[in-house]
């Protein structure tokens, strides 16, 4: 069941085609990563989803039916370019934003108290935004994004400007929201957090989706068939036509060896082969990091285009 689908979204700016038939499908209750280099069209897509701008063509479905104006209130959006009124009090500001998203005053007040308590910032209520540090402001912005209990939370570069401690708080909140059945759309350059948080991703490059699917499957698809062995040995001297040794590293009494096997060879074959020759302490297959997937997908497309 997909909570959000975009179908063949096209958006043309004066001389620049920002989105060229972009389709993504975000399953309900998952964290979806929207990746891509700068200027690929991620923010444009998000702005179309949040109805800030209109697409030239294409449709957006929420829960399988066309997106309507009222659905905006079901979305919580934290833009990349985000801020608050500097001269306004923190509490008033969150109240204002909550009411703009259709909450009643009373309801907004209750939720605000709950969230301020959870983030331990109750004493900030009467402080002006300009008195807060950037990290503190981002916490307030995050609360303002989710206070109206939206079903779809869209976060554009949510971790930029956060110290690791505060970034972890936000990461935990994202996972908690997911466990509550919310759908999270996350646009980020931080590939580690993609591995940590995302179930599915779409990689947009040069206005098109170049990669779409489950994170684990994608990493599998991009694997280089490299296995890493830790052996109880002084050296590793085995040679074979079906694999090549990439590196050897001696550490105390054992040695770490990285081996790339031919595609036809099964993992188990290789493991058996080595197990018979050396005492193996541990072994694992090296899956490419999302960073490597990202780089390889983006560069291979650029090569194709040129």
């Amino acid at each position: 069941m997909y909570y959000l689908e975009t179908k063949d979204i096209v958006k043309q700016y004066a001389e620049h085609l920002a989105l060229n038939g972009v389709s993504i499908a975000v399953p309900q209750g998952s964290v979806f990563g929207l990746l891509g280099p700068n200027g690929a069209g991620k923010t444009t897509l998000i702005r179309i989803i949040t109805r800030i701008i209109a697409p030239d063509s294409g449709v957006i479905l929420v829960n399988g039916r066309p997106f309507t104006g009222q659905d905006v209130y079901r979305i919580g959006y934290l833009p990349e370019e985000r801020g608050l009124y500097k001269k306004m009090k923190v509490g008033d500001q969150v109240m204002y934003l909550a009411q703009l998203r259709g909450m009643s005053r009373k309801n907004a007040q209750t939720e605000l108290t709950k969230w301020f308590r959870q983030f331990n910032i109750t004493n900030w209520y009467n402080r002006k935004v300009e008195e807060l540090s950037k990290g503190m402001q981002q916490k307030v912005q995050f609360i303002a994004t989710v206070i109206h209990n939206p079903d779809l939370i869209i976060l554009d570069e949510p971790f930029s400007g956060f110290d690791p401690l505060n970034a972890d708080i936000i990461k935990n909140e994202i996972l908690r929201l997911k466990n509550e059945g919310k759908t999270v759309l996350l646009s980020t350059h931080d590939m580690e957090s993609v591995e940590e948080l995302c179930d599915n991703i779409a990689l947009i490059n040069q206005s098109k989706v170049v990669l779409h699917g489950n994170v684990f499957e994608i990493r599998n698809a991009y694997r280089q068939h490299v296995l890493r062995f830790r052996l109880f040995s002084d050296d590793f001297e085995m040679e074979n036509e079906s694999f090549t040794v990439l590196s050897k590293e001696k550490k105390h009494e054992y040695i770490d060896v990285r081996i790339q096997k031919k595609v036809e060879m099964e993992n188990t074959e290789l493991i058996k082969l080595i197990l018979n020759a050396y005492p193996v302490i541990s072994f694992e297959e090296e899956l490419p990091t999302m960073r490597e997937v990202f780089v390889s997908a983006v560069t291979s497309q650029s090569i194709k285009d040129n």
């Binding site: 701008i53 030239d56 905006v72 801020g83 306004m88 009411q99 703009l100 998203r101 259709g102 912005q141």
Partner: protein, 440 residues
């Protein structure tokens, strides 16, 4: 509450609760009245020092005519004394030297008033009057002495001159019912200028405030958060309406304060009694007016009409200019970049202001007439013309053009605004901005 209401409320209350707004709103009328009344009041205080004026009259004909008053004492010295003896003492022992070197009926230029400081208008007028009267009598005496005219005629002429031939022109205006009523074109000018100035200042300051507000939201990066739940056009309308209401509130409070303060001051005897005489003192050419006449003149002006049109033109002009200012605020990233776009707007507004100013001289002239139909100048120019009374069709046409063009401009502005608020970085060119209007 709906979102538009919420936005208007925030824009409004965040401004009217500001300390600077409250202080400015309350003290401005006080300051204004102080500026108007303090000089008036000061001028009514008699100079305690009696100014001494030495009259050196070589002819001996004119000196006896000068009578000392509460303010001036004329000291007459014989012609034997030369002015040289007095000049070094000027400014210390006496205020001025009046030197008459020849018979003024034959050589009227031979009279000088020498002083160190600026001579008060009233003194100069007084001396001129005394001398003119004396010279007139001299000439009449000569005429009768010549024997060409009979004594009877001379007596009559003397009588005519003494009784005075001061003509006061009362300006009367014919209204539709054919009745005449007293009006004062001077008062119309003052009222027109006051409202024009007010509308000009408000268009500039509140239009500028809208631009600041748009820029502030863009610069603080809150705007994208807002437009994800509010339609940009609502955000724009909310802002313009909210700030416009702040302006109307300020006007209302000013009107209230000014009204009640002038009433309180009017009761004080120092102003009500002396205002007329002091204004006469300041400007001798002006005819003496008393308070009741001023009140009567005030009543000849159709205040209800003027205030009604003021509000109509204020709203129309404000929305028109605020839309343009909002467009500028949305198109750029920072204050410095607004300059380039502000310039033409400022020039147009300034032109409107001067056009209004010169329309006082000729409220029905071609400049005033055509500027009444250009929406960018009409709110300013019309406020000058309305107190003078102009045909109804001109007023109605002017309002229709103004409101029609603000609808067109604000729709265009909303299109630019919607795109501009999300654009960061390079300052756009006018060509690029116009392209934004075509974005879907």
């Amino acid at each position: 509450m709906n979102t538009l209401g919420l936005i208007i409320q925030r824009e409004y209350s965040s401004r009217v609760t500001k300390k600077t707004f409250i202080l400015f709103t309350i003290f401005m009328p006080v300051l204004f009245l102080a500026l108007a009344f303090v000089p008036l009041w000061l001028s009514t205080i008699k100079d305690s020092e009696i100014k001494k004026i030495v009259v050196i009259d070589h002819t001996g004909i004119y000196a006896p005519e000068f009578k000392s008053t509460d303010d001036y004492r004329f000291e007459i010295v014989g012609k034997a004394d030369e002015s040289a003896n007095y000049t070094p003492r000027l400014g210390k022992d006496f205020f001025a030297i009046l030197q008459i070197t020849d018979d003024l009926s034959k050589k009227p230029q031979n009279v000088f008033l020498i002083s160190e400081k600026q001579v008060p208008m009233s003194l100069l007028k007084n001396i001129e009057k005394v001398l003119s009267e004396k010279v007139t009598r001299q000439k009449l005496d000569e005429l009768s002495a010549s024997g060409n005219v009979d004594a009877q005629t001379i007596v009559k002429v003397r009588h005519i001159i003494e009784s005075g031939a001061n003509v006061t022109v009362s300006t009367l205006r014919l209204n539709k019912e054919g009745e005449t009523f007293a009006s004062s074109s001077m008062l119309s000018s003052i009222v027109g200028i006051a409202f024009t100035l007010l509308i000009y200042i408000f268009l500039m300051s509140y239009g500028g405030m809208v631009m600041q507000a748009v820029l502030e939201e863009k610069r603080s990066r809150i705007v994208e958060v807002l437009v994800s739940s509010v339609k940009p056009v609502n955000l724009l309308i909310g802002k313009i309406v909210g700030i416009g209401l702040v302006g109307l509130t300020q006007l209302f409070i000013w009107a209230l304060l000014l009204g009640s303060l002038t009433m309180v001051l009017g009761i004080l005897p120092v102003f009500s009694n002396d205002a007329a005489t002091s204004s006469q003192l300041m400007n001798n050419s002006m005819q003496p007016v008393n308070m009741s006449e001023i009140v009567a003149m005030f009543q000849t002006i159709n205040w209800l009409e003027i205030i009604l049109y003021f509000i109509v033109f204020f709203i129309g002009g404000y929305v028109l200019y605020a839309s343009i200012f909002a467009m500028i605020g949305a198109s750029v990233d920072n204050e410095q970049d607004t300059q380039q776009f502000m310039m033409p707007i400022t020039i147009i507004l300034l032109f409107a202001f001067y056009a209004g100013f010169y329309s006082i001289e000729n409220p029905d002239g071609p400049l005033a007439f055509w500027c009444s139909f250009i929406p960018f100048t009409s709110p300013v120019v019309m406020m000058v013309r309305i107190p003078f009374g102009i045909p109804a069709w001109e007023k109605i046409l002017s309002v229709i053009i103004l409101y029609g063009s603000f609808v067109v401009i604000s729709i265009f502005s909303a299109k630019i605004y919607r795109v501009g608020i999300l654009m960061y970085g390079k300052k756009p060119t006018v060509k690029e901005i116009i392209k934004w209007a075509k974005y879907k």
